[in-house]
């Protein structure tokens, strides 16, 4: 089993998310992370899907996603073919436990404090999943109130043609 990042471009239509996930669930493949948002073209959604699967399967999965009416393109990448990030937000309680340790933690992890309330503060870190997880674990002893992590967003290092294709669509509509 290998980790793949799959990028899908589709119309922003009701039900398409469901259609796309069915391609995975019917093969009993779990989706590790999923991010859907508008792409650079208005009305076109960009999906970033992370899943583990056998090497032989991914090509067919991508073709079956592309077959869905409403999907423009689906492309799969291995880890080295993409630049990717995740965002983590961590809310911690303000208490004596912090005791001056926070600054070092924030600095070492390249995190930042987004807001401070009367009895809590929210820290944001952008990076790989593992690094975000590490920060969470180091903050845990100080009393983490909430921990929220985004899915992966990814940009390929090679893919160029699709941007022009999307621009063409934008001009056509």
């Amino acid at each position: 089993m290998q980790e793949y990042t799959i990028t899908v471009f589709s119309e922003n239509n009701i039900g398409l998310l469901n259609e796309i996930t069915i391609v995975f669930s019917r093969r009993k493949i779990n989706i590790e992370s999923l991010t859907v948002s508008e792409s650079e073209v208005k009305g076109v959604s960009r999906y970033t899907i992370v899943a583990f699967m056998d090497e032989g399967k991914v090509e067919n999965i991508v073709l079956q996603i592309e077959k869905i009416i409403g999907v423009f393109k689906a492309i799969y990448f291995e880890a080295e073919e993409i630049v990717h990030q995740e965002v983590a937000l961590i809310k911690i309680a303000i208490s004596n436990k912090l005791n001056g340790n926070l600054e070092a933690l924030v600095r070492n992890h390249n995190a930042r404090i987004l807001t401070v309330g009367p009895d809590f503060l929210v820290i944001e870190r952008v990076g790989y999943k593992a690094g975000n997880q590490e920060l969470f674990q180091e903050l845990e002893p100080y009393g983490v109130l909430q921990f929220a992590r985004s899915g992966r967003v990814a940009i390929s290092t090679s893919q160029k043609d699709f941007t022009s294709y999307l621009k063409g669509l934008a001009e056509a509509s």
């Binding site: 589709s10 119309e11 039900g15 469901n18 259609e19 069915i22 019917r26 090509e59 067919n60 073709l63 079956q64 592309e66 077959k67 009416i69 409403g70 999907v71 423009f72 669509l169 056509a172 509509s173």
Partner: protein, 578 residues
């Protein structure tokens, strides 16, 4: 939201395009799409559509099924025979869920359908209202496209899209769920046919370098074999296939759904592929040097163990659906095109000499199969009639020119093996899904799709009882369908597997059947039973000569197994003759 008032008469209604109800718009969309037949079943949430249909009876004939599954199977066969999308109406909830089997069947067998299901009013969606089911969610995995209409303004555009998607590219079923309030509300009507959707490429561009690579393999082949699938029939490429074969002298084998795309009496026809296909083409799949697969998808019933499938051969795969390439079998050349396009381009560049040695090996294998299997089954000397004899007799008496609708199981394999198809597109059967109960409603749809054709339905006693209520349709619309039930009082194919693989433990396969002749008689259809060989010919003749619908039960051998057989998990070249 305005409610349509019915003050106009039919004449002025058909001219007026302003202020029409959603139901009226939907029905007019069907007329625009040249629909002439609708299969369906009325119910609460679709009543406005049926009310609108009342004014269009001169241009749209509605066929009232007795169960929505019957309606959808009839629509499937209608579509395959008439080459137009089959249209169904059902109500919401149970009416809609009853078409799911047909949708799954049509999706696997690439049959164009437009199914209209009624839905509760949009304000009730998600409230578990009476007869509310999430049909979009339910049908998503078994449709090419689906859409829920909640606003009257959407109807014309969505209907145009539905027909375009159903019939273009690799055809498939589309489901349109329409809320009751959208059927009742009014809008102005303007219909524009759809021929483009920006996220959908029905006819992908053919890579000419792949075409050249294919031609090179074909022209260099010493022992080539062509596998002809339903894609030939769907794209109407029968003539192109014939030209290709006559130019290249390549032997042709058909998949189950490809049957009738090439005449079985042609010297280059070598038989059917697959688990119960003919011996020669299966064995020689693992002997050929170039395999040309046209409009077929390497189903597991065709390939047997894929690890031992045609490993020695270079494989050329012509299919319009890119997700079929390299899905089950890795191929050397993938041609992304429909069969007609690919074959007509190839026909300009291919050639080939006679291959007497290669053809002889098919003849020898056929002789072996004839001696070990065909003689015993199609010309049985046993006391009881074999279902192979029934099919052979029907084939001889109809000169292989009737449309044959088989059900699923042994009757289906006997039909496929022993009917000599002489005319293109004359076999209707449930291939991918293997839906028992498909055969009888399919025969109804086939007869409606070609009113002049002789249509013969062959079912087993199991499958016949799954949809026999549709005998009422045959009677109501006076369809001259000929219905044969080969009765072995068993679920024969499962019994065969119990016999071969489950130590003859016949768990739940014996059927204690009713008197079929009495039942059919109750529907007002002439019915006879035959159980002796000496009466079989005359009984079939009487059936075929009848100008009306006719039912013939043939009591057949119980213990007979369909052979030859590729045992699951084994290779095509390990096919068993006994």
């Amino acid at each position: 939201m305005e409610v349509a008032t019915k003050t106009q008469n039919t004449d002025t209604m058909s001219k007026n395009t302003n202020h029409l109800s959603g139901a009226e718009i939907l029905v007019r969309s069907l007329v625009e799409e040249k629909v002439d037949s609708i299969f369906g079943y009325i119910g609460g949430a679709i009543m406005p559509v049926y009310d609108a249909l009342y004014d269009h009876q001169d241009e749209l004939q509605h066929y009232q099924a007795r169960h929505e599954q019957g309606a959808v199977h009839a629509a499937q066969a209608y579509a395959r025979i008439s080459k137009k999308p089959g249209v169904c109406f059902t109500t919401s909830g149970p009416g809609a869920t009853n078409v799911l089997t047909g949708l799954a069947d049509a999706y696997l067998d690439s049959t164009p359908l437009v199914i209209i299901t009624g839905q509760v009013a949009s304000g009730f969606l998600g409230s578990d209202a009476f007869q509310e089911t999430n049909m979009i969610g339910l049908s998503m995995p078994v449709t090419k496209w689906n859409f829920q209409i909640t606003k009257v303004e959407e109807i014309a555009e969505v209907m145009a899209k539905a027909f375009y998607i159903a019939r273009s590219g690799r055809p498939g079923p589309v489901l349109i769920d329409i809320t009751k309030d959208a059927q009742i509300a009014t809008a102005d009507y303007k219909y524009k046919k759809c021929d483009f959707i920006r996220s959908y490429q029905p006819m992908p561009e053919l890579d000419m370098s792949q075409l050249e690579a294919a031609a090179e393999l074909i022209n260099g082949a010493k022992k080539p074999l062509l596998l002809a699938g339903q894609g030939i029939l769907l794209s109407g490429a029968e003539k192109e296939l014939m030209e290709f074969v006559e130019k290249t002298k390549i032997p042709v084998a058909c998949t189950l759904l490809g049957l009738s795309c090439f005449p079985t009496d042609h010297p280059l026809y070598v038989g059917m592929l697959g688990m119960h296909g003919n011996y020669g083409p299966n064995i020689n799949t693992n002997e050929c040097d170039v395999l040309i697969a046209v409009g077929m998808r390497f189903d597991d019933r065709v390939t047997g163990d894929t690890a031992k499938y045609a490993k020695q051969a270079k494989i050329v795969h012509i299919d319009i659906d890119p997700s079929e390439h390299n899905k089950n079998i890795k191929v050397d050349v993938a041609l992304l095109a429909d069969a007609k396009q690919a074959l007509s381009l190839l026909n300009k560049v291919v050639r080939g000499a006679e291959k007497p040695q290669w053809m002889k090996s098919f003849k020898d294998f056929y002789q072996l199969e004839f001696d070990k299997v065909i003689k015993k089954q199609a010309y049985s000397k046993k006391e009881n009639i074999n279902m192979a004899e029934v099919v052979r007799t029907v084939s001889e008496q109809t000169n292989g020119e009737a449309i044959l609708c088989s059900d699923v199981g042994q009757n289906q394999m006997a039909s496929a093996r022993y009917y000599e198809f002489k005319r293109p597109n004359t076999q209707i059967t449930s291939g991918g899904l293997g839906t028992m109960g498909f055969g009888l409603p399919a025969a109804i749809g086939a007869q409606i799709g070609d009113k002049n054709a002789k249509v013969v339905s062959i079912s087993g006693d199991g499958g016949f009882q799954m949809t026999l209520q549709e005998l009422a349709m045959i009677r109501q619309y006076n369809l001259p369908v000929k219905i044969i039930v080969v009765n072995n009082s068993f679920l024969g194919m499962v019994r065969q597997w119990q016999d071969l693989f489950f130590d003859q433990r016949f768990s739940c396969t014996k059927l204690d059947n009713p008197d079929f002749v009495k039942i059919v008689d109750g529907y007002g259809i002439e019915a006879k039973r035959v159980s002796k060989r000496e009466n079989l010919d005359a009984a079939i003749k009487e059936m075929l000569d009848s100008p009306n619908a006719y039912f013939l039960e043939v009591v057949v051998e119980t213990e007979s197994n369909v052979l030859p057989m590729i045992v699951p998990g084994t290779s095509v070249s390990e096919m068993r003759l006994e």
